[in-house]
């Protein structure tokens, strides 16, 4: 049996239902699904085609937890498969290795994808509404709009790692890159939309950044595409066992 380890990178905790993928039983078959916001409620969409490798990996890891198949998972900008499971009353994140997802979903006769394109397949520009499914990894544009950080439980340096009880890492892009120019390059696309107040944004498996913005028209939050991450001006890829 494959040995799975705790993931040393960002654990995307406390995100909404729409920010995660799920493996569900659909018509007698385990499928990758996603919650999609219709404006009047949520429905889930099943991925088109076969993604059985991801489904199998997620289910194998889920069974290490409570012995059941199915449940939430994430894919980050490095294409790492992250699967949360319960262990000793707490949620831990297991890395399921590297995947190469190309998810498409049918919705009202059109094909939805998590790539930054509109319903006709034309590329989005920063500032455009993000109409696709919203699974992503949460980051924060710091107040002041000049840094990006994430928070995640701290692990030991040992191999395999364990959780350091009660300890949280706050990882700041400025401290990691130590290059003001690179940080400015990373921050600018999201700061152009969120401004000096900063706030949460998401990065999906295609490196697309999108962020919830209250447009003040009474229609709640709109998700806005902010552009692509620049891998040369971003957090380094965590090791995958």
């Amino acid at each position: 049996m494959t040995e799975f380890m705790l993931y040393r990178g960002l654990w995307p905790q406390n995100v909404s239902k729409v920010a995660k993928y799920g493996v569900r039983m659909v018509n007698g078959e385990w499928k990758v699904t996603v919650h999609y916001d219709l404006g009047e409620g949520l429905m889930y969409l099943a991925v088109e085609g076969s993604e059985s490798d991801i489904v199998d990996r997620v289910n194998q890891i889920k069974q290490m937890g409570d012995g059941q198949s199915g449940g939430a998972f994430y894919i980050n900008e490095y294409h790492h498969l992250l699967v949360p499971i319960m262990r000793d009353g707490a949620t831990i994140y297991i890395c399921g290795g590297r995947v190469n997802p190309e998810f498409t979903f049918q919705f009202e006769g059109a094909q939805l994808t998590t790539r930054p394109v509109d319903r006709s397949g034309n590329p989005l520009s920063p500032g455009d509404p993000w109409i696709g499914p919203r699974p992503g990894i949460p980051f924060v544009l710091a107040a002041g709009g000049n840094d990006i950080y994430f928070e995640s439980p701290a692990l030991t340096e040992s191999n395999p790692p364990t959780v350091r009880e009660g300890v949280t890492r706050k990882v700041q892009l400025s401290k990691v890159l130590r290059d003001r120019g690179l940080v400015t390059r990373a921050v600018r696309p999201i700061a152009d939309i969120r401004g000096h107040q900063g706030g949460r944004f998401y990065v999906n498996e295609h490196g697309a950044m999108f962020t919830p913005v209250d447009r003040g028209d009474g229609n709640g939050l709109n998700y806005i595409y902010a552009g692509q991450i620049d891998p040369a001006a971003w957090f380094p890829e965590p090791p995958v066992a």
Partner: protein
């Protein structure tokens, strides 16, 4: 007070800690004297520690290495010195036995002899000393602190005192209408909390922690 210094090089301290809240907060060594600032009706007063051998040893040690500045006396007796810019903290020694301060009116404020204080009464001593904690509904105390790292910072949260009905009751008396909030645990285990009244915040007595706080503080010491 008895003071037992750590051997050099001083070990790094990664454990419970509260940052300075202004230049008058906490215990400080000023002009070769250990003391803490108290807000009185007359203004700010610097109450100085009674000159026991231990206090003199502590002052000499700090003066030798840093001239003076802030020292944090943790409720378990550990004495921590924050280094400049609060980038690092070191454990410089361990204090035990009573600490007493001399007030500006030459009376004595003895941390080991405050039995006359009742929960909910005004705390007559320095209000910015000790370890910041959060008291929960059940009277348990949790401390949260951070330390800078090369990638940002590390935040730690630790339960230091389990459910304690007496503290829960004391907090309600000190902060009527609230049953959870921020407190400080001073030398000697006294728990105090700030309450707003007449436009400013004053410290009030909540109670005392009599049992040892947490069980293994040694794990936060990194020897060099």
């Amino acid at each position: 007070m008895i003071f037992q210094p750590e051997t050099l090089p001083f070990p790094r301290w990664y454990g419970p800690y509260s940052p300075a809240r202004g230049s008058n907060s906490g215990f400080r060594i000023r002009g070769g004297v250990l003391g803490a600032t108290v807000v009185s009706d007359e203004g700010l007063e610097f109450w100085t520690a009674r000159q026991t051998q231990g206090v003199c040893d502590l002052v000499r040690l700090v003066q030798t290495h840093w001239q003076g500045g802030r020292v944090v006396l943790l409720p378990n007796g550990f004495v921590v010195k924050p280094l400049p810019n609060d980038t690092e903290r070191v454990l410089i020694g361990r204090a035990s036995d009573a600490l007493a301060l001399t007030t500006n009116s030459c009376s004595v404020f003895d941390f080991s002899n405050l039995r006359h204080l009742t929960p909910g009464s005004l705390w007559p001593g320095p209000g910015t000393i000790g370890l910041e904690c959060t008291i929960r509904v059940d009277g348990s105390l949790t401390s949260q602190w951070y330390r800078p790292t090369e990638y940002g910072q590390e935040q730690t949260q630790e339960l230091l005192v389990g459910p304690n009905p007496a503290l829960a009751e004391g907090f309600k008396r000190a902060r009527s209408g609230l049953n959870a909030g921020r407190v400080r645990v001073t030398v000697g285990g006294h728990v105090i909390t700030n309450r707003e009244g007449d436009g400013d915040w004053r410290p009030y007595y909540v109670g005392r922690v009599l049992e040892p706080m947490s069980d293994n503080w040694e794990r936060w010491i990194e020897r060099r």
